[in-house]
């Protein structure tokens, strides 16, 4: 269903004009469904974001809320080394201030849609007495050798991340981040990505998805984990490391490649891709943090969670 087609808001016409273009859009906003020209395989992902949980209306600027709601889905498409083909957007708008909120949301949504080549092709706009809820679903298509899952990591693989982690909430980076679509595709062209995901819950937690899906263990090199500048500097290193391991909402890619491909990446990194080698896959299931002279098991919530 199209966004608020019964509404008389002028911005809806504006949304239609700005949203529906693209060579793949056979039918955009305004019919019972949209119709996209697709290849033989279609990626699909969805995320629901709520006021007070994923953003705070009145504190987080509305365009950044809109941007985030699309970006987290694009990050999932990137995690499969996919290319987005279209998005549908559902809103439950609070009655008070809902119109201005919708306009701001769509400003951010449409800007990122444009930047990432992901037209908004449909949606469902509602008002209610509750807080703002936004749901976005994104379709995409695999690239190159196909979709990269979480299940293909092997003992001996090297583990990489595409950027420093930690501190994304206070800095608002959880709203402003750029989904790593181009990075994923560049990596996918260069090497065989055995397993990949995007860091949403936090490094130490997300690693378990690869551990479980691939039936491997992962040893992290504590000294190699890139801590983001957003993590406040005036605290002990152990605390800063814990932020990097557990804050979440980094939306960098984490991936596993063979040692040979790791050497290729380190000697000839693909243009525009930041790379940090942070660990290695091992046969024994679990996640460990290697220090200078220690090897400690990590829990899902970071190492302090396990030891205090």
């Amino acid at each position: 269903m199209p966004p608020a087609e019964h509404s008389e808001w002028n911005w809806i016409d504006d949304v239609r004009r700005r949203a529906g273009s693209g060579p793949r859009v056979a039918i955009g906003i305004g019919d019972d469904t949209a119709l996209l020209k697709t290849s033989t395989a279609t990626l699909v992902t969805t995320d629901m974001l709520m006021d007070g949980v994923d953003f705070v209306v009145g504190e987080t600027p509305a365009d950044l809320i809109g941007r985030k709601c699309l970006a987290v889905n694009l990050s999932d498409i990137a995690a499969m080394a996919g290319r987005p083909t279209g998005a549908v957007v559902s809103l439950a708008l609070p009655r008070r201030g809902g119109r201005a909120l919708a306009e701001g949301l769509y400003d951010g949504l449409l800007r990122l849609a444009q930047e990432s080549g992901c037209p908004i092709v449909g949606g469902d706009t509602n008002s209610w007495d509750g807080p703002l809820v936004v749901n976005v679903a994104v379709l995409g298509e695999p690239t190159g050798r196909g979709a990269v899952t979480r299940a293909g990591a092997r003992p001996g693989d090297r583990v990489f991340v595409t950027g420093p982690v930690g501190g994304s909430l206070p800095s608002l980076r959880h709203c402003t981040f750029r989904p790593r679509l181009s990075e994923a595709q560049a990596l996918h062209q260069c090497v065989e990505l055995h397993a990949m995901l995007d860091l949403s819950d936090g490094l130490s937690s997300d690693l378990f998805h690869i551990v479980e899906a691939s039936q491997v263990g992962i040893e992290l090199d504590a000294g190699a984990i890139p801590i983001h500048d957003d993590v406040a500097p005036g605290q002990p290193h152990a605390d800063r490391l814990n932020h990097a391991l557990s804050d979440g909402e980094d939306f960098e890619l984490l991936f596993c490649v063979s040692e040979e491909d790791a050497q290729t990446l380190l000697s000839q990194p693909p243009g525009g891709v930041e790379l940090y080698s942070i660990g290695r896959c091992v046969p024994e299931p679990g996640v460990w943090l290697l220090g200078a002279d220690s090897r400690r098991p990590l829990g899902r919530g970071g190492w302090e969670h396990r030891f205090t």
Copy 2:
């Protein structure tokens, strides 16, 4: 993202077992995105439903809420004469009673998914301090001669509906209805459907979508509109007719075909399809209600809305 993969609820494993099957599901619940085998064109639609607006938690049984949230999307796929290929489901669950609610919702969702050949391939399950919100997005594929839009009606076309309308809210038919997928495909095989949609807002309101998209007018024959038995019998006929015109949430199909195809349908109705011829397309844009000796313009909300 998969439903509540961090949760320890046992039902999640159960959901995965019951949800993810089907020959088109290359990757189901449990990775960053799902992957569906698709044809060269993919339909996509989404609907967000909220407690207190589309259902009432505590009054509407949870399995019927779940069923409705998928069914309204399948109805949109039917309106394009499409076949569903997969669905993704997002939940914002209230903290109090959220677990039982989720189990009930998924009972209804999975049952209808099974009935309609639409596997649930992914989702996003959240808890918050607000009321229940459910978003479903459904992918599908066109059948036969392709997707049927709202835009192809022509003057002279006959207008049909696939069942009686009105009274769906008090009877809970808005939750229990069967999406007209098989009916749409049977009709699409028999005749050339010029325009079609599913009746969600109400007959008199939904007609305007065809009027605007097709640039035609529609004359309804007041005596031919099938009023559902759910509309209480002990009231004047004019009131019952108004319920049929304006109640909404009927989820029957409304479609336009040439006079020749109308005769084909009336003489040899496709098996299993109820058919009511209720009007005709005319050149002058607008919607009119023809009585025995009257012709009155209809507003979006039904005729009383315009005349009292």
